[in-house]
Symmetry: C2
Subunit: 343 residues, 2 copies
DNA sequence: CCCGCCGACTTGATCGTTCCAACGACAGCA
DNA sequence: TGCTGTCGTTGGAACGATCAAGTCGGCGGG
């Protein structure tokens, strides 16, 4: 078991190597790593030295096998939508990786099979490759959450379980209504009275939630909403058309949009008509994508606190994977507004 | 070892369970999974049935421990730069996940410690958590590649090893010079004669490479380049300032930029002066970010074939991890041009 | 007829760690 | 002195897979 001195080892040092060098048993080294307070101070010191000298790091596979845990979190990555402004995932993934590292977890990415969106989950679950999942698409009708619940797989959702009475899984979400209310109130404070809404189709719960914030803000000032709202697909072209129609028929002086993608559509219309965003017409988007940050003259946008979302998600994961497992209530976070030239 | 019939197993089925059900030995089941052609047709059939019936999937940890391989690829994710247009990583990550899945690998994300950029690598390496790395930042002076080489860690670089004579590691890159040459030639064909360049600082190899394509295209038509180039930081503000100066001093009718971020800076300057991109002044960016796709009137941009890069990276990984390991020559791919309203 | 070979499958050992039961030393108490 | 309990440590077994070596029956050739 001992290594030939002066020779570069071809395999990494093991627990047994450290034990031999420190003159203790394997279990004592294991305790030094996992339960240091079980050792006497001088023994711990000696073992620590041996660990440092050999550059020992516990073999992941062996530990996983014995403890039946992988310390990996599965995250499905969706095909990047071309032609939309949504860079949400990028920021969230980074925050999640950063936060889970501090909790001792790594993030495992996997792609969905196009025919069977659940196959990826099933595979990782049965081969015990991950301890838990983080799911991000919780629009209604998404089978993931329900399926994972029946499989008793631990998971945390970024997004409310819309339309489900009593969810048995933890979730974290951002208050979309509060976000668009923030945006609308900001425009009202700037003196706008006719503020239009461009959102998503009525069957989108997220879209209706965000829309509610807009109408709430207008009603709070006794302003009407009729004729000022439009519900379309989440594409630049849809936003362009919808804003053109609204400008002709309702003459709004400002737009609040359910996404930066739609807001970019509004900017297209303004450019075509020679109108300057922020001077002639105000525009506010949603998600604070990179697009919003760099497009002239800067697009005011509702910013989701993704760093905080990641923190809450990891907290929920730790509860879920604890002994005994703990499922806390859902967490709803408040967004902020990034104000730029377009308002 | 046998399961109580009619009861839901609390632990996943193992090789031994399958073996018992099929009436064969463990090794035979293992062969059925990994070397099916070693079995007689009828035996294979019987084992397959048992596997399906139990829903068996090999335990990852056990397999990893025995084979000393994790079938995981480590990818470091950098902090998303706020205020830039770079969505390159997003697309590449997705392609890499997709491609490596087909090769039987998963992607493990990790974050760099801010103090010690190598700590993440070291940790994963020593605990044998990943089989190989994919590294993406190969600007000169980046210690990753050199460090990984001394550790004899298998890795593939997306990006040429600039300034290194004989790299001992595989790499895949996109021909930046060809990209800006493509962009410049496109503008020349549209009748532009005075085409300016906005690129990065002289010590950026990537920037100088891209710049070379621009000057090559101009010289091929006998056109001068003097006074038409600017080298700045990769920010929107720098692009804005540089383009303002160039417009005043050299009156170019078109801009080719080393990044979409810089191109957005040009659009800012045009907007401030009431000039319309594509009509009054043409602009071409680099990377085909989401910004380029949605900004009015659409930003023409050099598009890197990231899907192909991922394929080549995974090919190189398979060679690297094969028996015996094979290190092929570097691969250089040609970009394309996504033409939009700005030219 | 016997030997060697080959195909198909089985058996025991092993990867590196953690869990479990047991161990010796020592102290407290009767 | 002897019993009991605690503390720090030990050795053996187990996690679930694969590797290496071995078994067994059948077939062909000298």
């Amino acid at each position: 078991m001992s290594r030939i001195p002066g020779r570069v080892p071809t395999t990494p040092p093991t627990l047994a190597d450290v034990a031999e060098l420190a003159g203790v048993s394997r279990q004592t080294v294991s305790n030094a790593v996992n339960n240091p307070d079980l050792l006497r101070a001088d023994t711990l010191e000696r073992v620590q030295q041996a660990i440092d000298e050999l550059g020992y790091s516990p073999n992941r596979a062996a530990r996983n096998l014995r403890t039946r845990a992988s310390h990996l979190i599965g995250l499905r990555i969706n095909a990047a939508q071309e032609g939309t402004a949504n860079a949400l995932m990028d920021r969230f993934v980074h925050s999640l990786v950063e936060t889970s590292r501090e909790a001792g977890y790594h993030v495992l990415l996997f792609a969905a099979d196009h025919q069977d969106p659940l196959s990826g989950y099933d595979d990782l679950l049965r081969s015990t490759a991950v301890d838990a999942f983080v799911i991000t698409d919780t629009y209604l009708g998404n089978p993931q959450a329900a399926w994972l619940e029946t499989r008793r797989a631990p998971f945390v959702a970024f997004g409310r379980p819309w339309g489900v009475e009593e969810p048995r899984h933890p979730w974290v979400d951002v208050d979309g209504a509060a976000g668009s209310e923030l945006a609308t109130t900001h425009l009202l404070d700037r003196g706008h009275h006719r503020i239009a809404w461009i959102g998503w189709r009525r069957d989108s719960w997220i879209g209706e939630d965000r829309r509610a914030g807009w109408s709430r803000a207008l009603r709070a000032r006794g302003l009407p909403t009729t004729g000022l709202a439009s519900r379309v697909e989440d594409t630049v072209a849809s936003g362009r058309e919808a804003s053109a129609v609204l400008l002709d028929e309702a003459q709004p002086s400002a737009f609040v949009c359910a996404s930066d993608t739609l807001a970019m559509g509004v900017l297209h219309t303004l450019a075509e008509r020679g109108l300057v965003p922020g001077r002639d017409v105000a525009v506010v988007g949603f998600d604070d994508s990179q697009v919003a940050q760099v497009v002239p003259p800067g697009l005011t946008s509702v910013r989701q606190p993704l760093e905080d979302v990641a923190v809450e998600v990891v907290k929920a994961l730790e509860g879920l994977l604890g002994h005994p497992p703990y499922v806390g209530p859902g967490v709803l976070l408040a967004p902020t507004l990034a104000i730029r030239g377009s308002s």
